[in-house]
Symmetry: D2
Subunit: 390 residues, 4 copies
Amino acid sequence: MTSSAPTPTNPHHGNTTLGVAAIGYAFMGKAHSNAWRNVASFFDVPAFEQKVLVGRDPEQVAEAAARYGWAEYATDWRAVIARDDIHIVDICAPGWMHAEIAIAALEAGKHVLVEKPLANTLAEAEAMTEAARAARARGIQSMIGFNYRRVPALALARELITEGRLGTIRHVRAAYMQDWLSDAETPMTWRLRKETAGSGALGDIASHAIDQVLYLLGDTVTDVSGRLHTFVTERPGADGTEQVTVDDAAWATLTLASGAVASVEVSRMATGQKNSLQLEIYGDKGSLLFDLENLNELGFLDATLPVREQGFRRILVNEPEHPYAGAWWPQGHIIGWEHTFTHQIRDFLTAITTGTAPSPSFEEGLAVQKVLAAVEESANNKSTLTVVNY
Amino acid sequence: MTSSAPTPTNPHHGNTTLGVAAIGYAFMGKAHSNAWRNVASFFDVPAFEQKVLVGRDPEQVAEAAARYGWAEYATDWRAVIARDDIHIVDICAPGWMHAEIAIAALEAGKHVLVEKPLANTLAEAEAMTEAARAARARGIQSMIGFNYRRVPALALARELITEGRLGTIRHVRAAYMQDWLSDAETPMTWRLRKETAGSGALGDIASHAIDQVLYLLGDTVTDVSGRLHTFVTERPGADGTEQVTVDDAAWATLTLASGAVASVEVSRMATGQKNSLQLEIYGDKGSLLFDLENLNELGFLDATLPVREQGFRRILVNEPEHPYAGAWWPQGHIIGWEHTFTHQIRDFLTAITTGTAPSPSFEEGLAVQKVLAAVEESANNKSTLTVVNY
Amino acid sequence: MTSSAPTPTNPHHGNTTLGVAAIGYAFMGKAHSNAWRNVASFFDVPAFEQKVLVGRDPEQVAEAAARYGWAEYATDWRAVIARDDIHIVDICAPGWMHAEIAIAALEAGKHVLVEKPLANTLAEAEAMTEAARAARARGIQSMIGFNYRRVPALALARELITEGRLGTIRHVRAAYMQDWLSDAETPMTWRLRKETAGSGALGDIASHAIDQVLYLLGDTVTDVSGRLHTFVTERPGADGTEQVTVDDAAWATLTLASGAVASVEVSRMATGQKNSLQLEIYGDKGSLLFDLENLNELGFLDATLPVREQGFRRILVNEPEHPYAGAWWPQGHIIGWEHTFTHQIRDFLTAITTGTAPSPSFEEGLAVQKVLAAVEESANNKSTLTVVNY
Amino acid sequence: MTSSAPTPTNPHHGNTTLGVAAIGYAFMGKAHSNAWRNVASFFDVPAFEQKVLVGRDPEQVAEAAARYGWAEYATDWRAVIARDDIHIVDICAPGWMHAEIAIAALEAGKHVLVEKPLANTLAEAEAMTEAARAARARGIQSMIGFNYRRVPALALARELITEGRLGTIRHVRAAYMQDWLSDAETPMTWRLRKETAGSGALGDIASHAIDQVLYLLGDTVTDVSGRLHTFVTERPGADGTEQVTVDDAAWATLTLASGAVASVEVSRMATGQKNSLQLEIYGDKGSLLFDLENLNELGFLDATLPVREQGFRRILVNEPEHPYAGAWWPQGHIIGWEHTFTHQIRDFLTAITTGTAPSPSFEEGLAVQKVLAAVEESANNKSTLTVVNY
């Protein structure tokens, strides 16, 4: 007997197959496409279809659509948003395009997933948040892509904290260390110009670190002190040496409403650190350690055990008991970085079909933006102290 | 402008789109399907189609086919092999079925990928190897699925060894530690009965360890001394207590033609070790360390550097310079266990289109089987020495 | 034949055996005594004698003198300093006593080793530095006990940096994490009162972190931004609840004359971190990692190697080629924390006999004090930014 | 007030100050001397005196005695043993001298500590054990120097196992990896000749690994299967190339009376491993990991915790709650390799004064020797299986 494979149905949305459009096919577009292509193979999600991939260059987007599993490609995102068979818009375009697309899509009644950061300016972020709030009232969902919330180890960290296993949290450290600008001869890109990128390491990677602090602790920031620095101020450009106008590194301390204090430190010059988002969370009953370069592991110390047997445990977060992990492979068969996007799509789809607002919301994205803006303002206003006669 | 995504063509096989059938939809079927579904999104491979998934239970295989991206499902593998539109047969069925299916498929002119171990008996493995040899002469390719050869870190290890960076290799350690049988109340399964599984930890995981020794060193085994042990001899079965008739753990030392000596030690009772294939390779110019639970990393010590600065390096094998890694994500964005299968499919497809025999061949699979058989024979014949009066 | 063991002579000071007095027999007194007792068994040093241990409580100091290998004990440090047979005064008393003793000893013509911090106030530290400068002109040496400069791994780090192996250093991270105040019920001590301790984590452990930054980079601080925080503001005292008047944690960023930026973060509330002085130094040609809890190891990444084989090396700093290590045990036989004091005594004695000023000098101790004071001033003046409406 | 430090008294032996003689001043003599010199500074032990150091070369032993804190030196061990003021004989001479000295000392009524291995031959070891048994009946104590039993982390491991925290122990791995013979040009020494050294890696380091298996599990060996190998069979000698007549590496599996199986693997050719005694002990309720290169740490997994939070903990064994650790420094201030000898002397002295037989006894040393002999016999008799046609 040979037969066609059955089509899964969507019990929450009737028989509608959700049509998905993605905008952008570069790094993030590749990662999101991978998630759309695979999510239904591992998780029970409503029926959907990878309808159309949108991009500016027709040849390149055609090639990307074919490669990444999209049925069609398009170059005009407005036309795509207008289509009746598109229910979900996944925005992977650069930050300066987020506001326009997201607001238009929400107003057109499309569920919207947007990559972080929410926007390049606070004003845009606030407008987007307003649009999301209005859409939500009409049953239209929106979400910002802080995908690291879907690292199983960090979801487990969140569970442990929520259950009180860390007690009162006090000292928190968040660092995100990369080295791709370590070579002073690495040429200029749009990412190093303030007008296109908004900021440097701050918006790009401190945003992840700050979101983790807020997510894991379930807390809010009350005070910020920050600093920005550009180590390599000039780089080779297309037309000769060009000025770098964003930060290479950033430092901040955040006071949280709970009384905890978090340091945030990020760098693109940390030679040898490739993609190391490090988190350390110290409470009076326990502590947690994490490093994105070993994302299948969570370090946990339970300070309520007898002192004699206390120590940081390396929990390999691959058990059926762990968040998301049961859907993949048997214990000890580790997952990769891109799986966090698959989890994100799964949760986004689930939220759409159950009609519950997904998290992180645009409001949560805006909260991170506000902290970023405060770091920048603090850095600009800082009257640092000079150590004289030394 | 909105258009259909273009169909990729296969420059090596003319315009033929290769039709693929997979047999088996359990653990390995899921892993192989994932690889077929994704390989073309990351690698340049010839055009192929996931035609049909084959399994015994019509309902389950239908569900699996839909979930894993196969166009059709079927229950009769013979009928599928007979189809003209099927060019590749990927065998993920249990070991005792390998020989019959593989030989039939090869004789029908299909390229065959078969999961490890090659077969449950040496006789079957030899017959398969003979069939593969004959088929190869007719341009039909075959490959055994020792997927860990496609871990980028181990492919890099192979490169370094081949280039002589380790000098003369002497002491080699290979261990594969798991713990899923650590609980004595874990019930019987077919994997614990000799008649269905052939052997226990020996065939299941020592096979991977031994293949790595042979692959990395490019060497052959001359002498074997081995030991097998079953720690928990009875387990709860469907009809009361049942005898475990395979090994829980195995130990061996292998003498290699080069003069190196490799120890192999595997266990399903190593509480806390989930999927830890550990390799240690010591040469007079350098050494390598590896652990599958951190498969993105390779430990390398270069003993030709000044002593003052020698030490094991943790190479995060995610750079464009590393095998397979450039196809995925930027540096430091780690990949998961299942990506090794994607690399395997990529190499298999490349071999088919270039007409070069892929490795590991059935001969290489047979070589591992012979070592496994020698371990078992040695274990059975061992007259261990009794330490008296102690 | 049985004979008395020969007495070693001091080739640099004629036949004078240097008489040593130590002041203080608590934690630091125990560690310094251990160093004096053992240094001559491992290193070639001039002849000296552990003459007298000085303390306030006659019974306790008598017991300590016997236990730690001192020939005599005394309670009046002034009388001891006046003795002709005392050539070296080792000050292990609390910080508020440093200035008076050190200045008196230097004026009396004694070589002085003083524990860190140099003093509790900048004014005292400056007076001590002045006294040391004057004494040095008369051939009298002085040194401050930043013993971690004598960790072999950090001495090796210094060598590598000096040789240019890290290239231009930019991003530096220094943290010192402890947890002995994590329990809010831990009672008050003099260490938690500003009037006796001067400061909390800042003076106690940030001083070590800052000294390492200055030592390893051979650099000076130009600007400081800092923050202090007390997480547990009240603790049980002898007469009921008492206010904690020093910091539990401190954060700072230091701009260095070279253009590098160093963050410093210290805590006594980092549950599970026992004595973790962590250093990360990122240059454009290489990077270093260190953790005092694994003080025999140095992490080194050489960014001038081919990318394919770059990675942080774990150098086990126990080879004859490594600083200090040859005097101890064969390779891989690790040393402990207290050995750093033995190295310190060895270098101090060597400086005395060769007539060269030892490092770190009081000037170097003063430089650290100035940075600490700047952190405190910055923390007090900080107008942090409030993130509103969030 | 200045006074002489008081002399401690020995409450168990009346007012007798125990006189100690050590024989041998090379590597082990240095380590033992260090322990004698320091033990009373950290532990409460009976009064004793470092009377005399014995060696063959009068000049060298004189220098060593002065350097290591011995009051006298001597060249005739028989004369020293005959002295009334000597109560303890610490034998650090080479293995072939152990039997003669130990038996003579025991018969002379001296307490004896002897370095491992107990002797170079089983016959000598048995004679020594007999002498120790007879002496013990007369209140004379004896002990063999398996100092690694006094690593705090391993003493803690023993506690946890004794308390049943690991449940039923099954799979055990013990390896001791060094690399000091990795260079084929390293010249011949007496350690590489069977007539002087007895064996190679087997007796030197497998003895430690086997003792740990027996100690930690409190178990005995019933069956042994072993293998020996010499990778570099010729080395440069004083008079040209010379044959190496001992093993470079050894492998064994030991069946234990409890039903556990332990593998033992040792090597002097493991390039990059300096002094890595690795232990892995897997029970059905928990597991332990240890590496001598990080001897302050114990890895412990508690399999009775919820699966979600299981993981190997890094216990930093430096707390007052840990064996021996309270005597040294505050938490997190790590100790070194040589401290294990200090603990050994402390326990030996305690045993003498309390009149209880110390452990490990000569019987325990003999048990290890018997296992070593069985490994050698098994290796010689082994008929390995040839894997043909491969």
